[in-house]
């Protein structure tokens, strides 16, 4: 199956690319186009070409990782296209094939997976206060540091039930519920997909000499999490 045919299997690709007339309104409205060397119009042009070499180049590029998923392009496109959705399908295919480790920004998927998937499957939340360590989030400032250090007291003061049974803000999600989330991940292909990200990242860490001596991935994690684009 060609790369283009694989993209066409994703309903988001079908929905996101009807027919691009190259007007460039998406680029005009795109926040990522303002701050990165990124042109959403060219994403539509490249995939619309159906040229396998050009699509492969895109899947291995930094370019597909610049979109911030604000979906402003969806509102403005006179043809009802949405480059943000095309990007979703490109990123999925790049990770499925393993091309994502060929770009610095693509490699960041490992760090995202490690943090977000851990939180979802272990806490039932995408974000949990325990993971928001001030040293990894200096932008959160001294008020967050104070909250983090006193989190049980501060959340209780605000009516939250951090890590407690029953309903409420930041309640402990029951183990039976977390088991359902895991089962959904298994049945719907997430587990297999995430294993692809893991194995490709491990191979890349080895190639880059960033694997820990004990075979762990901490060095690689910190590298992809914190380094700026070269």
């Amino acid at each position: 199956m060609t790369l283009y045919e694989q993209l066409k299997q994703d309903v988001r690709f079908i929905e996101g690319l009807k027919a691009c007339m190259n007007c460039g309104v998406c680029t005009a409205i795109c926040p990522a186009a303002e701050f990165f060397d990124y042109d959403p119009r060219m994403i539509a042009v490249e995939v619309q070409s159906r040229d396998e070499e050009r699509i492969e180049k895109l899947l291995k590029s930094e370019t597909i990782w610049y979109c911030g998923q604000c979906m402003s392009c969806k509102t403005r496109c006179p043809r009802g296209n949405c480059v943000g959705l095309i990007i979703n399908s490109l990123r999925k295919l790049s990770q499925k094939i393993g091309y994502f480790t060929q770009s610095q920004r693509g490699r960041q998927q490992y760090a995202l997976k490690k943090v977000l998937i851990y939180n979802i499957l272990n806490h039932g939340y995408c974000i949990h206060p325990d993971c928001l360590k001030p040293e990894l989030h200096p932008e959160q400032g001294p008020v967050w540091k104070w909250i983090f250090e006193n989190r049980h007291e501060v959340y209780a003061r605000l009516g939250a039930h951090l890590d407690q049974d029953g309903p409420g803000t930041l309640r402990k999600i029951p183990g039976s519920v977390l088991a359902e989330l895991s089962a959904i991940f298994d049945e719907s292909g997430a587990t297999e997909f995430l294993e692809k990200i893991e194995s490709a990242s491990q191979a890349k860490a080895k190639e880059m000499g960033l694997m820990d001596e004990d075979g762990g991935m901490e060095r690689y994690f910190m590298h992809v999490y914190s380094s700026h684009e070269s």
Partner: protein, 363 residues
């Protein structure tokens, strides 16, 4: 005739918001960064408006942040959404009250996909059944919680203890409203006023006595960008977008920023601190920032809730200048106290806001 035509056109920008009986779908970001807002929403709904809202301990994250970071297949997202709908069905609720703009976008995307691609819904039903043995009905209504507050804005106004009037000048306070991209940019028909005339927050502000600031970058993204914030090396994108908005709104001298989306509220608060520390630039008068509030916090203040019960102490930009303009009575000594006045110390005051502390007048 002209007026009738306008009224008819405007009707296309409205959405139906139920009067009662909501299933509450909480927000990861709001729970972490604005826990007092979710608490206040439930209190306002139950105590001030006498509405029924079910807070189910068994619902989970919608996984939207991981989905928009491209870590999860679309099938997984649809099945997680289907599980939330199954919980609603099992507990007898048809109206979803969604606390998060990202989640609101997710549920809208899933439901719209199912309309256009019925085979996707069939797949989600099968996956959910295999994974959990659950079945679901599609919700009759999905409203963002701000839609619901907007719906009852006049009732809230009727019980107002304070209004958005500057107590020193007698003039309306100037308020910036930030809607959040996923509220109406993806599916304009799902938001009040659509993408072009979003009125969910401006309606609240005007009902409660304030004046909405219209500024050039009003609809620009806050810069979250999912992977562009979550990865430390990418955060320049996020702060640059917020900075663009601050620079654009600054000449209008806003008294406050009100946010629809919890992520936007967090970024517009925290990035003011970062810009202050990096560039020495603050956007309020003197060395102050512009206070950033959630709509629940604003509604709570109007109804006379204590600012420290609402959680204004967990903001990085001090909210006291706004409280003083509104005339809110508060006890500054209780700001950083725990339950029963327990001493929890207090955060270090950042250098960029240091002069502001000297200017704060005790309430």
């Amino acid at each position: 005739m002209k007026r009738q035509a306008k009224t008819r056109i405007w009707n296309d920008y409205q959405k139906l918001i139920p009067d009662d009986n909501f299933y509450y779908l909480r927000s990861c970001i709001r729970q972490n960064f604005f826990p007092g807002s979710e608490h206040a929403f439930l209190q306002i709904m139950k105590n001030d408006l006498q509405k029924n809202v079910f807070d189910d301990p068994n619902h989970t994250t919608c996984t939207g942040i991981a989905y928009h970071s491209d870590l999860l297949p679309f099938e997984t997202l649809q099945t997680v959404a289907a599980r939330q709908f199954a919980l609603m069905t099992e507990s007898g609720y048809k109206n979803a009250a969604v606390s998060c703009v990202t989640s609101f976008g997710i549920y809208s995307e899933v439901l719209e996909t199912w309309k256009e691609f019925p085979e996707e819904e069939a797949k989600a039903r099968e996956l959910l059944w295999k994974a959990t043995g659950r079945e679901f009905n599609v919700p009759e209504n999905v409203s963002h919680c701000s839609d619901i507050i907007y719906h009852f804005r006049d009732q809230i106004a009727a019980g107002q203890k304070y209004s958005l009037i500057n107590q020193h000048t007698g003039k309306p306070l100037k308020v910036v409203e930030h809607i959040g991209c996923h509220y109406a940019k993806m599916f304009p028909g799902k938001g009040i006023g659509g993408a072009e005339f979003s009125s969910v927050l401006s309606g609240m502000i005007e009902s409660w006595g304030g004046e909405v600031v219209d500024y050039p970058e009003r609809r620009h993204c806050c810069g979250f960008g999912f992977r562009q914030y979550l990865i430390m090396g990418n955060r320049g994108y996020s702060v640059s977008n917020s900075r663009k908005k601050f620079e654009s709104m600054e000449p209008y001298r806003p008294d406050a920023i009100i946010c629809n989306c919890p992520g936007c509220a967090m970024f517009l608060d925290k990035w003011q601190y970062v810009i202050g520390e990096m560039e020495g630039k603050t956007y309020g008068p003197g060395r102050e920032g512009i206070p950033v509030l959630t709509y629940e916090e604003l509604a709570g203040l109007m109804l006379g809730y204590d600012p420290w019960d609402l959680g204004l102490q967990v903001h990085q930009v001090d909210c006291e200048p706004l409280l003083q303009k509104i005339g809110v009575q508060y006890d500054p000594s209780m700001k950083f106290k725990g339950l029963n006045g327990k001493n929890l110390g207090k955060p270090v005051l950042p250098a960029c806001f240091k002069a502001a502390e000297l200017e704060v007048i005790p309430g």
